[in-house]
Amino acid sequence: MDSALIPEGAKRCSLPKFSIGMAIVGAVLLWGVWAMFLCWFKGLNQTNMNDYYGFALWIWADLAVIAVGGGAFFTGMLRYIFNIKELKNIINFAVIIGFICYSSALLILAIDIGQPLRGWFIFWHANIHSMLTEVAFCLSCYFAVLTIEFIPNILENRQANKVPFFHHLAHNMHGIMVIFAATGAFLSFFHQGSLGGVAGVMYGRPFAVREGLLIWPWTFFLFTWSAAAYGPSFTLLVTKMTEVITGKKLVKDNVVHLLAKISGWMIVTYIIAKIIDTIYWAYVTAPSLGFKLSHFYTDNSFYGYWILITEIVICGIVPGAILVIKSTRENPTLRLVAIILGTIGVCLNRWVMVLQIMAVPVMPFDTWALYIPSWQEVATTVLPVAYGIMLIALAYRYLPVFPQEKELNSVKPITESE
């Protein structure tokens, strides 16, 4: 029924089957939307956040999706600025993932703030000293970039592309995409960094605070770096998942290997920097404020040293090593393990930099603050996942996302339109 919209030569499942799948995910989405409206109309008392736990589960989700969405800016930078040709075969998908992540992040921010209707004050009354202002500006601008990057792909839909204006628009946008990508890379560098800065500048919180360069604490650079490192891993992970679900090979191995290799080297370099940062923080920064490392990891029922080891060793050094070494990288199983660990690693890092910061007591007579999220928080955190699945499904079904799909899945190769 919708065959006219499906990319030429591509095979897709039947519309009823597709609709059923969408309905299931849609139900989850509606659950999240319901929770979202509860938070908007009844206020943030719908959450289990409190005055000690001002940032909670969904802010972690926010930072995590931005981190894993970092694949878009980094791949885009490599594709358009460093002109690594192979990556054009995955760039569309990377952009879509980025678009999903960033739109989700903005949505979460809109739910998270106590006065959503005044959210624009962050622009209007901007305090340039605040890392959050930087985040808001760069995030919104970069979301615009992602939209711009996504538009040509949408316009390449079979029907849309028949409209000459759309056809030309897509073509022209591709023509100057390097400019957009460069702006995007610049913006993304700053907002990824300023998200790291959000934690690092909190000099009242010895668990978070870091020294740094000029106005930027080390977490600024670590966040950018980790997003660039783990983002591509996540892109590969989602690609792999899409391939498994669709039962088709969508991206050629050489492209996957290249991106995995880049991700691997980025992870290795990042994790070295992270280890240095951790050691310096544990042995210099925190003790200078009177804190022992054990203060941050003991005397509570959840945050132990395990979290530090998991983040740095199991989800840092291990995936880094797997992806750097050619033989393990090209082993599909090990590579899958690595990109899964990598994704967990960066999410765990964001968890630590948001939730553990809130949990650690600062005043000597204060106690650990642990909290359990309410269902509304869980639902609104799941919401972006459902939304992402739906958008990927729609994009995959109706847009020529994977240029190599036809070649990999048909007898006679068809040349690219571009």
Partner: protein
């Protein structure tokens, strides 16, 4: 943006004598009543209970019968920030300039109508002095009649905190202006609601920059940065006076006084052996 926080301006501050404080709660209620702080059915979760002034209970950690208790009232500390330049932990992070540092008073303000509730300031404040309005403030039918017009009730979804009763400062300033000496507010004309209510006179409030004021005389603030940590300014030269988490460099304007060493030690974190070295160091020797 960096302005002088040391001269030609007021620097309002407080010193609380923890040996006199009995934990009676007068300051808390006086504050709530003065500043139109709402209440709700269950206030026993202290992590969502708005108390600009909160009284913490400290114990020496010893077992019966050697246990000791002290109470520590904690208003907003009105931090001067690292180096006392006005970049308080909360002010520097607020994205919408909804909280600001008054260079003329040293008071950290909160603009309720501008705050959009991102709560970054709450995360940045190590003293938990900032409170979020998780609920719409609601007064039982008729009780809104006791609300004071000096302080606007806050709406749901924003952050609020102690303002050092800023409206009392404004009233005192108006009075000084009326009497023709607008630059000199009298000590007794500007006192916070908690200070005047305290039945033990444990709280002393005034201008830390003014040697004639009692706070200055008790605290004897060191005008020079701490040679051990240049972020720290205004350290007390009174060996019995300390500030909360002084080593972080937040430079609070709320000082605490106690004869008891174990109480003073709870003001900050110390590595093993550090306290014995630090406890007798009280600012530089020069005078300012």
């Amino acid at each position: 943006m960096t302005q002088d926080n040391h001269n030609n301006a007021y620097k309002f501050g407080m010193v609380i004598d923890l040996d006199k404080c009995t934990g009676c709660g007068s300051c808390m209620v006086s504050c709530m009543s003065e500043n139109n702080v709402p209440f709700k059915e269950d206030e026993s979760n202290k992590r969502d209970s708005i108390t600009w002034m909160r009284v913490y209970k400290l114990t020496n950690g010893k077992s019966f019968p050697d246990t000791e208790i002290a109470y520590l009232p904690r208003p907003c500390q009105h931090c001067g920030g690292e180096g006392d330049h006005g970049h308080s932990p909360c002010v520097s992070v607020c994205p919408a300039t909804a909280t600001d540092y008054g260079y003329d008073t040293g008071i950290v303000s909160q603009i309720y109508t501008r705050c959009f509730g991102c709560r970054y300031c709450m995360g940045a404040c190590p003293y938990h002095a900032r409170y979020f309005n998780w609920w719409d403030p609601k007064w039982p039918e008729g009780m809104e009649k006791y609300l004071s017009p000096d302080v606007s009730p806050r709406m749901r979804g924003i952050v609020e905190k102690c303002s050092f009763c800023y409206h009392r400062y404004q009233a005192a300033r108006d009075k000084a202006y009326y009497h023709g000496d607008k630059d000199h507010i009298k000590e007794e004309d500007y006192q916070t609601a908690c200070t005047t209510a305290c039945p033990s006179n444990a709280i002393t409030f005034g201008d830390l920059n003014n040697p004639a004021h009692k706070v200055h005389q008790i605290v004897k603030p060191d005008p020079h940065p701490d040679p051990r940590n240049h972020h720290v300014v205004g350290k007390s030269r009174n060996p019995k006076v300390f500030r909360l988490l002084e080593r972080l460099g937040t430079n609070p304007k709320v000082y605490y006084l106690s004869e008891r060493e174990w109480v003073r030690k709870q003001g900050d974190h110390y590595l093993e052996g550090e306290w014995d070295k630090i406890k007798n160091h009280h600012g530089t020797t020069s005078h300012g």
